[in-house]
């Protein structure tokens, strides 16, 4: 079982005009997934009808960063290597961290813990 945080910008309240608010007002939704072999995290969100506003806009084609997820160290280390094209889109993601990946590239398999 892998823990994945969906990182979204969003403000649920007033913010100062001077603040680059999307850097400070992000909301993390914790979603616990069970392993589905071969699917990506994005596939799982779509298949299980989890409605996350604006998630996966380009439908998993590495043309946006809206499926940005943050993993814990254990999860991150289990994933395959990241290709340039994913890193390129990840560069544009809101709230980018060292444990960030794009959900459409996070492949879930039975081997993952």
């Amino acid at each position: 079982m892998m823990c994945v945080w969906v990182a979204l910008p969003g403000n649920f309240g007033p913010f100062e005009a001077s603040t680059k608010c999307i850097c400070t007002a992000n909301i993390h939704h914790k979603i616990t997934t069970s392993c589905a072999k071969g699917n990506s995290f994005l596939d799982l969100v779509v298949d299980q009808n989890v409605y996350i506003d604006g998630f996966g806009a380009c439908e998993g084609t590495l043309a946006c960063s809206t499926c940005h997820v943050i993993l814990d160290q254990k999860g991150y280390d289990q994933l395959g290597p990241i290709i340039d094209e994913e890193s390129d889109m990840l560069d544009l993601a809101f709230g980018l961290t060292d444990m960030s990946r794009l959900g459409c590239q996070v492949c879930l398999s039975r081997d993952l813990e």
């Binding site: 999307i22 604006g54 806009a57 590495l62 043309a63 946006c64 960063s65």
Partner: protein
């Protein structure tokens, strides 16, 4: 329950099922007339002006969050989707996948699309405010910043907005007929639009012919003599506004090689370690393309390449130089800059030096610009945006804005998406708090339809658009393209009404 009411519920149930089937999802619903998609007479009626990403994402958030909001989207053209259709490059089809989400929104029971309606001409914003509880202005940026230099009106000089509109089938740019008979093209500006233009100018036609690029653009590019594209910016390598994906596409573009001056990158490598990850990776790639000695394979590839591209920095346009017959562009005079300040405050300052570059095609890609569509709407002419606070238009109750007309014309689709969600949240907050009064009964689209009918304006519905969509797809299939876009509004209307 009267027969009429039962029939109404039945229609709504049917619509719900059809929508679900198209999405491939089964949606459970409870009760018959207690449907979440039913629209009681007291529902809040919201009007959105502009059928591009901002309009659709604002609509999406509204209908998904509250079950008592009805949203009508008005669009100037018979066809929806704005810059996703007319701005995104033909060789970036994945970016256009958002159209699937927009289609779902348009087909939602509480949303409707009304194309071929020009707000500000066919119906005023004031009239929309009479008919709806709230009006959201999401009409983007139809204009462009001009260089403001002599010679800008010569043949061979175009705004990137018009050039992109030309290859993407925007009806008002269908007669552009850009002259591609010169060897060198100079693009002013170093954002993603500038890189899109460079890439389309230099891409092998074999790649372009499988995209939804318009046929006339494809034909013109097949005959093009352009072999060298310079992408010119006022400031330095650390200030380029493009993103790494687009730069990587240039670096990997078949049949082309990068050609840049090492002297323009002095001191840049030393700054790398202090840069944030996105800027660092972008700059590393730029340095690699510009000054790194290529490996054997890459060297061979570059030697074989017949087309070249490169960034030029610290250059600002002063004048477009005319040909001897004074009709067309033959060159561009550039002021040489140096940089002052550092970090975010870096600015370009003229050195007094000047440089002339021979070229026959000049494309200014220095920014789109929003325009005023109705005198009743407050407008900041200096910033070219609608003055607002979190999407609430200043000094005008019930009026909101989202997208480029709210924030300025920068950012990718995801930026506009988040911004539109923000405006939708603001609007919903106002309903919740009561500052936006939705208790009165408003005529909504019925009211507007009456006005439009009197004025001889026939809106295009979303299912009318689907006829245009099918026809474009059919025409494209014959040529091995995803679609062949119609270039004429008259033709679009004919197909829509068939």
């Amino acid at each position: 329950m009267s027969t009429h009411k039962a029939a109404l519920c039945k229609v709504q149930i049917l619509k719900l099922f059809l929508t679900s089937a198209r999405c491939g999802r089964i949606t459970r619903f409870h009760g018959v007339c207690g449907l979440s998609t039913s629209t009681p007479a007291s529902s809040a009626k919201v009007c959105i002006v502009g059928g591009g990403p901002a309009g659709f994402y604002t609509a999406q958030h509204l209908v998904k969050t509250r079950t008592d909001v009805q949203v009508d989207i008005y669009e100037r053209l018979p066809v929806p989707f704005g810059l996703v259709r007319f701005g995104v490059a033909p060789d970036h089809p994945e970016v256009k996948n958002v159209i699937n989400t927009f289609t779902q929104t348009a087909q939602h029971a509480r949303c409707s699309f009304h194309g071929n309606v020009r707000v500000g001409k066919d119906v005023t914003v004031e009239e929309l405010q009479e008919a709806y509880h709230a009006v959201v202005l999401s009409y983007g940026a139809e204009g462009n910043r001009t260089m403001g230099v002599p010679g800008e009106d010569l043949a061979g000089v175009y705004s990137a907005k018009d050039f992109v509109g030309w290859y993407n089938g925007l009806p008002r740019n269908s007669e552009l007929r850009p002259d591609l008979s010169c060897e060198t093209a100079v693009i002013l500006g170093q954002g993603n639009v500038a890189l899109d233009v460079a890439r389309i100018l230099l891409s092998p036609v074999d790649i372009l012919k499988k995209t939804d690029i318009t046929q006339h653009a494809l034909d013109a590019l097949a005959e093009s003599s352009v072999r060298r594209v310079l992408i010119v910016g006022r400031r330095g390598p650390l200030q380029v506004a493009c993103t790494i994906k687009e730069l990587r596409e240039m670096v990997n573009l078949p049949g082309t090689r990068p050609e840049m001056e090492a002297s323009e990158f002095e001191g840049i490598a030393e700054t790398l370690k202090s840069l944030a990850r996105p800027r660092k990776r972008l700059t590393e790639l730029l340095l690699k393309a510009a000054i790194e000695t290529p490996g054997e394979e890459e060297l061979e590839r570059r030697n074989r390449a017949e087309r070249a591209w490169g960034f030029r920095f610290l250059r600002k346009p002063l004048e477009v130089l005319p040909s001897t017959d004074l009709i067309r562009a033959a060159g561009i005079r550039l002021a040489v800059n140096r940089l002052e300040g550092d970090g975010e405050g870096v600015r370009a300052v003229a050195t007094g030096e000047v440089e002339d570059v021979e070229c026959g095609l000049v494309i200014s890609s220095i920014g789109y610009k929003s325009l005023l569509i109705d005198p009743a709407v407050p407008f900041d002419a200096r910033k070219a945006i609608i003055p607002n606070t979190m999407g609430r238009v200043q000094q005008t109750a019930g009026l909101y804005c989202s997208g480029w007309v709210k924030r300025g014309p920068t950012g990718v689709i995801a930026t506009t998406m988040n911004d539109s969600f923000d405006t939708a949240r603001t609007l919903l907050q106002d309903i919740g708090k009561g500052t936006l009064d939705v208790s009165t009964v408003k005529p909504g689209s019925q009211g507007v339809s009456t006005l439009l009918e009197k004025r001889g304006v026939k809106p295009v519905s979303f299912s009318d658009w689907e006829k245009i969509d099918s026809e474009e797809t059919r025409r494209g299939e014959i040529k091995g393209k995803p679609r062949e876009k119609m270039l004429d509004v008259g033709e679009m209307l004919q197909v829509a009404r068939a």
